[in-house]
């Protein structure tokens, strides 16, 4: 299970219609690590994730997994190595937790193959890892937001892929559930060596949980490296068009971003609002 897979993009350009979202991106994702992608709204984070899992065909360039081009790999073969949890997956009416998590076994099954003991074991392990075993008979509609997200992660885990891409897995969750989900993913990474790549909006959680951070600005790679290297006041300014202070997080020792808006900034702390920051820069793409 801990075989290391290398996922990389090679001069990747992505877009929808006549709009280019990502341009000339070269990125190698560290095997066996947690990589978090950050960037302003509509900077192409989700688009990048979709393309890496074969959902979106590149305009130019390639996505390469272990030396093989992702878009030329048979769909099921790829799905056994690379899993994706989209930002807003659709929950069918009345589906039970057991059925939903069982759907994760799809890449391991054929059209008329029978359900195997291996399938059962994978589903059980996924439920166990996400602590959702006791919900197995419940209908997914009735679960709380945090439980539902754990069940969806269990679905992706049942796929037993060594790489897992997650698009904003913590959106719509309150802070304790966000931490719970991120802890869970860290457990997975540490105990199984699963390579995790996710998009997060919260910079401080991103800096805390990432082994490596990738910052995108306007469809291009702005910085990639350890949280300490990437999460600087300069990065925040370029990526979000916003001033900030970055200090050491007293809890984790990782960078902690303190945004500076037009109000509530104390004079003399170096936190006066800077008028010259261009508000039009963020979210332009």
């Amino acid at each position: 299970m801990t075989a290391s897979h290398t996922l990389a993009t090679d001069d990747l350009t992505l877009g929808y219609g006549d709009r280019t979202v990502i341009e000339g991106l070269d990125l190698t994702l560290a095997a066996g690590r947690i990589t978090v992608i950050v960037g302003a709204n509509a900077c192409g984070k989700s688009t990048l994730l979709r393309s890496m899992s074969r959902l979106l065909v590149p305009r130019a360039g390639r996505v390469v997994l272990d030396g093989k081009e992702v878009h030329r790999t048979p769909a099921k073969e790829l799905a056994r190595t690379l899993g994706l949890l989209p930002q807003s997956p659709v929950t069918p009416d009345g589906i039970t937790v057991l059925d939903l998590v069982g759907r994760g076994r799809h890449p391991h099954q054929r059209a008329f193959s029978r359900w195997t003991a291996q399938d059962d074991a994978a589903v059980a392990a996924a439920l166990e890892a996400t602590r959702t075993t006791e919900l197995v008979e419940r209908s997914v509609d009735e679960l709380s937001g945090g439980q539902r997200q754990r069940v969806w992660i269990a679905m992706a885990l049942a796929q037993q892929s060594d790489l897992l891409l997650l698009d904003e897995p913590t959106t719509f969750l309150d802070i304790s559930h966000q931490i719970e989900v991120l802890d869970l993913l860290t457990d997975l990474n540490r105990s199984r060596g699963t390579t995790i790549v996710m998009v997060l909006h919260d910079l401080n959680l991103a800096a805390r949980y990432a082994d490596r951070l990738v910052a995108l600005a306007a469809g291009r790679l702005h910085a990639a490296g350890t949280p300490e290297e990437v999460m600087t006041e300069e990065t925040v300014r370029t990526v979000y068009g916003m001033d900030s202070r970055v200090i050491e997080d007293p809890v984790s020792g990782k960078p902690l971003v303190l945004p500076i808006g037009r109000h509530h900034a104390t004079a003399g702390t170096g936190a006066e609002p800077v008028a010259s920051s261009a508000p039009g820069q963020a979210g332009s793409r």
Partner: protein, 350 residues
């Protein structure tokens, strides 16, 4: 929860026990449906204005000459019952295919214009061009496919969104219905009778000529859908999730659309667009069996049962004989209203 690698046996036991229980329940329900369908089929053959015992019916089916029964059962009732079975199965399977694929119970082929396309083409063919029965069927099937393609193309914008397709389909459906109504309003008496069956669906006067192509379509296209069953279930989780699970989304979608439209078209060519059967069967099957496995077979059985029972009711329960589509229409309309009211209450759009 630091080491989730090792599965504790209790979790595995809970999973396999729950799964076996679900599978048993599902099997029980599918078998019960099958028994009901067989019972309804047998009843339709035996009962009517004259009753023939099962032994007579069996003798007719095996090819023996039985005075009276040979004509009533062999020529009148048997093709009619077989078509009821087949058309119901086709409508049920095709309906649930569309509903699953587009993740919306309103997305049934009889709502989004596919049946309306077959009806309009048939009405035009009969009334305007006075074509033969076979030519009418061929035209109806072609029109159903063409409408499906048209709705799909009109709804396509970076992939197909269910709601957009449904609204466009409802619009096209209304347009086609008005064509059918206009043509019928100008029809002569004789044509009118032939064309009317294309309005609500009817099994009156069914012969093997209509039945055989519909049976062949089920035998040919049914397996295609069943083969796509797992991919179809994955599609109900959304295109992105399905794709991440290794489903080739567009390919699956085109395959199941062609197969499902083919089923609808052949069944409609034989029996007319029996109202609401495609629309009702899937939700009823889902309510009965749960969402665990593929709904294709259960929905097909529910469809067969609906048509068999509705046709029998329409023939014998009232003073006047009603075509089967009138009976299923009476059943389906309230459910459509219920569905729309429920969606509105939940604050959703369609």
């Amino acid at each position: 929860m630091s080491a989730p690698v090792v599965t504790a046996p209790p979790a595995l036991r809970a999973v396999s026990r729950a799964r076996v229980r679900h599978a048993r329940r599902r099997l029980l329900i599918v078998l019960s449906l099958l028994v009901l369908v067989v019972a309804a089929f047998a009843t339709t053959l035996m009962a009517g204005h004259t009753f023939y015992p099962a032994s007579d019916v069996l003798r007719v089916i095996t090819g023996e000459q039985v005075p009276g029964a040979s004509f009533t059962v062999g020529t009148l009732r048997l093709p009619r019952a077989v078509l009821a079975l087949t058309a119901g199965f086709s409508f049920g399977m095709a309906g649930v295919t569309f509903q699953t694929m587009l993740r919306n119970p309103l997305a049934s082929p009889d709502i989004i214009g596919i049946s309306a396309g077959a009806s309009a083409a048939a009405a035009v063919a009969i009334v305007v061009f006075s074509l033969s029965e076979t030519e009418v069927s061929v035209l109806a099937i072609t029109a159903a496919l063409a409408v499906a393609l048209l709705v799909y193309v009109l709804a396509f914008r970076d992939g197909v969104a269910g709601t957009r397709l449904i609204l466009i389909g409802i619009g096209i459906s209304a347009l086609l219905d008005s064509v059918t109504s206009y043509v019928l309003s100008r029809a002569g008496d004789w044509d009118l009778q032939a064309a009317m069956r294309w309005l609500t669906g009817s099994l009156n006067g069914t012969t093997w000529t209509e039945t055989v192509p519909a049976v062949l379509a089920v035998l040919l296209l049914g397996p295609v859908l069943l083969f796509q069953g797992r991919n179809l279930s994955a599609l109900s989780l959304g295109d992105d999730t399905a794709s991440a699970l290794g489903v080739r989304v567009e390919r699956t979608r085109v395959t199941v659309i062609v197969a499902a439209v083919g089923l609808i078209a052949f069944a409609t060519a034989a029996a007319g667009p029996i109202a609401f059967v495609a629309f009702l069967s899937g939700p009823i099957a889902a309510r009965l069996t749960g969402t665990g496995g593929s709904l294709l077979i259960p929905a097909g059985l529910v469809g067969s049962l609906l048509v068999l029972v509705a046709d029998f009711t329409g023939q014998y329960a009232f003073d006047t004989r009603y075509p089967v589509g009138v009976v299923t229409g009476v059943l389906g309309a309230p459910y459509l209203v219920h569905l729309i009211v429920r969606t509105n209450r939940a604050g959703g759009s369609l």
